[in-house]
Symmetry: C2
């Protein structure tokens, strides 16, 4: 009993039957006495269809008009879900992002929420209505429609939950919560009943697709009680908590990210500012760098290696070559696509020597060469050749005793 | 040179090619030095598809949620048209009805415009942008999205033209203006270069589908210079003017409306208040009555005949029967579906005896019985059996010398 925010993703509302299923779930929670705020994404393929239509008309439409177009996707979802709830006999109202008081900055297609004025949402709740909110969108103070970019609907849900001081924020997805590894790749992966915000944040950043990092950060910042669970079952899901109580369990999950590429800028002069200049130029091109290694090679020249998102590989290599030309034409740029980032996540693992040695030992036993390593308080990531990455994922999962025992 | 409002209907933006064609036309007008405001409807079948999706979820959705759903149709059109104009290199911005300052009452699905605050539209024009406005929609003062119902986009265009004191309002459609009769039924129908507001209003009411009566009334009230023309040609179209200058041309057009039905409430007692009670009860059921005839029959009882929209026939007959029961069970209700309303329109025709006699004579020559007649200052309408209605339309068109001479 209290205010409950639920978020349903695109696959949860992909067709009429699923919308009716979601309506049923919402109505049940309402009838248990909860004030319900429901955030929904666009139906299944709607967004892709709209993007394709736009592409036929203009290969480079302005972000402002793309947002005007794409925001219709959620508007369709919210009205249809509201109609399904009306059919079930409960008072309901759908609200766009703007109507829900979600004010954003002006960065179209990747706007950030500046503030939320929950007056309207709270008024509708007070009137006894289930409130359906369009995820992924907001408005600027000059009344232009914006979209929040990747993970936008999760962010809408968490931000609303924070604004109305919700008692619970449930993120519904098509899996039964957060797993120790991607169950599609590791059949023995276990569902985690609990995970800390920090661990969840690392997992989210490392490619576990259940929650977007932005929403996890926001939830941690505002102490939003968060649960990740499945639309298609009654499994209780994974609760994201302040601190992971189970100290003895160090490694909470293993993740794999294949959506990366490595660039090596080799044999550049060993003089100050070279690396700085390179990364400054890449940043000017809005290319995000993940891991970086720089070292002196046998010829007393510098090798600078870094990873980028696979989509950015071509442009990043191009920019790097331009940079080498600008500084005198020395050195060369090498690209490698088939690399993967494999990571283990768990509170306190970098303070535990056994964990690192088990990680490196397992990869060594598989004959896998580690190209780069990076660590944070709660994760260790290795860049490896993609060839054996799936096997590495499964072996690490077993090595860290994450396998479910009830699967043969 | 000045502010030009153009309105393009759903068939004008039905697909990518047509959207690009409209963009070209808008850009040409902009490059001639005009400030352009462009009102668009939803693309072709979008609205029907959305209605069908809603019907699968809820056979009786609330009007409020239907408006939330249907308003996405125009939002898609405006953003795509804006992208097409961007591709042509002109500054442009799309605005929803709400963003354009269109404030309506709260009658969802058939809202009426309460006021227009053109501040945003004028600001965008001043910034040198072509402004694309979503037709058919607005917002209430409590920020709920409304739709304007039938003829809504025409009304948006005319109301905006009035609010910004536009120099011209062009309504684009798929025919080359207003014709003396429906060209699909009367091949010799002539396009009219000019027509008066009053004549246009009668034609619109009588089923000529080029302009909705609401928009004509609004244009007349605010002296909006109105032109009806084709999206698909450069024909100058039909200009709607204050007074038709050509006094000698009496009859301006012949119209046919098959979307009606007749109800006869026969043999009711001849006592005061019976007809009033009947029509009051029908009005309470939101049934609009068109023509009414009441007369004493040979048995000294009253026969009351009236016409309604075909869609309302069943309910109107039902309500009439209930009414007869309430007043004592006398009389009977007869329904007739296959009736048509054939009308001639022209300033001053009811003051000209020759016109009426030519009308009745032509129908008599065809062996057509006139069931009901109604007249206004500028039209005469007859209810006839539908069987020969198309022939009657063509014969009247010829009789009143409206046939084009350049068609054999």
């Amino acid at each position: 009993m209290g205010i409950m925010v639920q978020k349903y993703g695109g696959s949860s509302v992909a067709n009429v039957e699923r919308i009716q299923h979601v309506a049923q779930r919402v109505v049940e929670n309402r009838r248990k006495g909860n004030d319900m705020i429901v955030v929904v994404s666009a139906m299944g393929d709607t967004t892709d269809e709209l993007i394709e239509k736009a592409a036929q008309i203009n290969p480079h439409p302005s972000s402002r008009e793309m947002d005007m177009l794409l925001s219709t996707g959620e508007q369709i979802s919210i009205s249809l879900l509201a109609m399904a709830i009306e059919a079930a006999g409960e008072p309901v109202i759908s609200l766009t992002g703007g109507m829900s008081g979600i004010l954003t900055d002006t960065a179209h297609k990747k706007a950030r929420i500046a503030s939320i004025d929950p007056t309207r949402v709270l008024k509708e709740l007070a009137d006894g209505k289930i409130v359906i909110v369009a995820g992924f969108q907001g408005v600027t103070k000059d009344w232009n429609i914006t979209t929040l970019g990747r993970g936008g609907s999760d962010t809408t849900a968490v931000a609303l939950a924070a604004a109305v001081k919700a008692d619970l924020c449930e993120i519904y997805t098509d899996v039964e919560g957060v797993f120790t590894a991607d169950p599609r790749k590791v059949p023995h992966a276990s569902q985690l009943p609990e995970i800390s915000y920090d661990e969840m944040l690392e997992l989210a950043k490392l490619g576990a697709q259940v929650l977007h990092p932005r929403s996890v950060e926001l939830a941690r910042k505002h102490d939003v009680p968060l649960v990740v669970r499945s639309t298609f079952s009654d499994h209780p899901g994974t609760r994201v908590v302040e601190v992971n109580r189970m100290e003895q369990v160090l490694v909470r999950g293993v993740t794999l990210d294949n959506n990366i590429a490595r660039i090596a800028v080799a044999n550049v002069p060993d003089q100050p500012g070279i690396a700085f200049g390179l990364f400054k130029k890449l940043a000017d091109h809005h290319i995000t760098i993940d891991m970086i290694i720089q070292n002196l090679n046998h010829a007393a020249k510098n090798d600078i290696s870094f990873t980028v998102a696979l989509d950015d590989l071509h442009e990043a290599a191009q920019v790097s070559r331009e940079y080498l030309n600008e500084i005198g034409g020395q050195g060369e740029v090498l690209e490698k696509e088939n690399v993967s980032k494999i990571s283990i996540v768990g509170t306190g693992i970098t303070g535990n020597a056994e964990v690192a040695s088990k990680l490196f030992g397992t990869l060594f036993d598989l004959g896998i060469n580690i190209e780069m390593i990076s660590t944070s308080e709660i994760k260790i990531s290795c860049i490896i050749d993609s060839e054996k990455c799936d096997e590495a994922l499964r072996q690490l999962h077993t090595a860290f005793a994450l396998d479910r025992l009830d699967i043969v």
